[in-house]
Symmetry: C2
Subunit: 257 residues, 2 copies
DNA sequence: CGTTCCATTGAGATGTGTCAATTCAAGTGG
DNA sequence: CCACTTGAATTGACACATCTCAATGGAACG
């Protein structure tokens, strides 16, 4: 049933492996990130059976849009997704970036409608997890229920970290914190913690961090001049991790359970 | 079993009623706010049985502290609670204010330790809901499970609204949005939407909204000069609700499911 | 009736936004 | 393969909202 059918390019910066976008949870190399470790193989299979895997999203395509009725949460398999909402006066607010192994869409549960839109920053594959089925399964598998409570709770604490960042920190600190966050999330996926390609534009970064594009650009230039980063368009190399940590002055990388 | 034992002052601005802090869920006038409507009376009773009700918290007392092991979430019955975390450099970031009928502490689920501290802004009564018991009950009562998913999801969307506010809005817009938020939460509890007493200090407001005390104070003065608010220390009267909405320029009062 | 904390108000400093010009990167069509 | 177009990124000069510092006033409490 879960025989590879077609391969798509892996959006990971590793760039070497390709894998089938219909691969099962049991054989997905990200399963330690998005599944509760406690599940046995028959349980994983039951979860696997409710998950939908469609064709990959092209860059710019929407996964879902703000306001549409909520039916599922999504796990990123490859690529990168940004979530954003549009303010009343038409401006965009980026609320998060989601990388492989991370789950998005949980904001839609409370009102049964998505509270933000999500679109692919690059070609991305996602697993769709229908929420009603997930709820039923959670009733039978307490570990799964707990896992989702934890995932949502983590989303809350991460949002609160962002709130603190926006409320208290300078432009330099915000950028440093974001770079460190991406770095540690890369590390979690066994990718380089010091060298990566940003999937999002400067506009998106500024939007996420409450800064203008110009400020983002200036900060990157300054950090480069300080020999802390090497920036070449979207290619980032962290030259001085300690220095970056010092500038960030916040712990954003310690979000393990 | 749930016979009134001792009355405490209700922290509500109505200020008139008093009620027993050990009252059961079934007879609590806030139960439409914090319980799923779908529960029948025997289910409410089962939930009631796991809930702990201790003595009220005095102003300044902690409900829980950042880092301590997580065991329960809490429903506010009267008074007001602020949640905050302390940044690495020792400054405080207020992450939320919680009024009667609202639930806090869900940030602690992901790491099994509270991600922030919570302390009473005034004399407050809370119901403690042990999380492990809640989880077990959720497995048996799918409506309860869904309710908690929704509560957590709402927390996420509210945090994202705050993120947008901090990222995009001016000091005036932030204050206006907070006043409107408090106003609509008062209305939800059948209290006055236009006149209330702020339980928190200017410092806390500034801290929450990413502003200094001075700016908060100046904005209140300006809004007063514009005949939009009447401010007398912590006593607030909204004179021009439309004007306030116009200034806020964001929808913060429409968070019904 | 001090003491202490909170709130208000003013004057000046500053980080970030705004506006504008230039460069760079990527894609398109001749 | 090279102009051409388009959007992204960088850099500079200036403006302005908010912060900082400082002084005063007011409320709460023992």
């Amino acid at each position: 049933m879960n025989i590879p059918a077609k391969s798509v390019g892996d959006g990971d910066t590793s760039g070497k492996r390709t894998h089938d976008y219909r691969v099962s949870c049991g054989s997905c190399r990200l399963n330690t990130l998005c599944l509760p470790i406690a599940l046995d193989s028959t349980e994983v299979e039951r979860l696997d059976n409710i998950i939908q895997r469609g064709r990959p999203l092209q860059k710019g395509e929407h996964l879902y849009q703000e306001g549409v009725s909520f039916s599922a949460v999504y796990a990123v398999r490859s690529g990168a997704i940004k979530a954003y909402r549009v303010t009343d006066d038409g401006r965009e607010q980026v609320t998060g970036f989601y990388f492989p192994g991370e789950i998005l869409g949980m904001d839609g549960i409370s009102k049964n409608a998505h509270a933000c839109s999500a679109r692919a920053l690059e070609t991305s594959a996602v697993c769709e997890i229908p929420f009603s089925a997930l709820q039923e399964l959670s009733v039978q598998m307490p570990d799964l229920q707990r896992h989702f409570f934890q995932l949502m709770s983590r989303e809350i604490t991460e949002d609160q970290q962002l709130i603190t960042l926006l409320s208290k920190n300078t432009a330099e600190e915000r950028i440093a914190a974001l770079m460190l966050s991406i770095s540690s999330r890369n590390a979690r996926r066994k990718l380089s913690a010091t060298q990566f390609r940003l999937p999002m534009s400067r506009i998106d970064i500024g939007n996420y961090l409450g800064l203008t594009v110009e400020t983002v650009s200036r900060v990157f230039s300054r950090l480069q001049k300080l020999d802390i980063l090497e920036v070449s368009n979207k290619e980032i190399k962290i030259l001085d991790l300690d220095g970056l940590n010092e500038i960030a002055n916040v712990h954003v990388g310690d979000d393990e359970d």
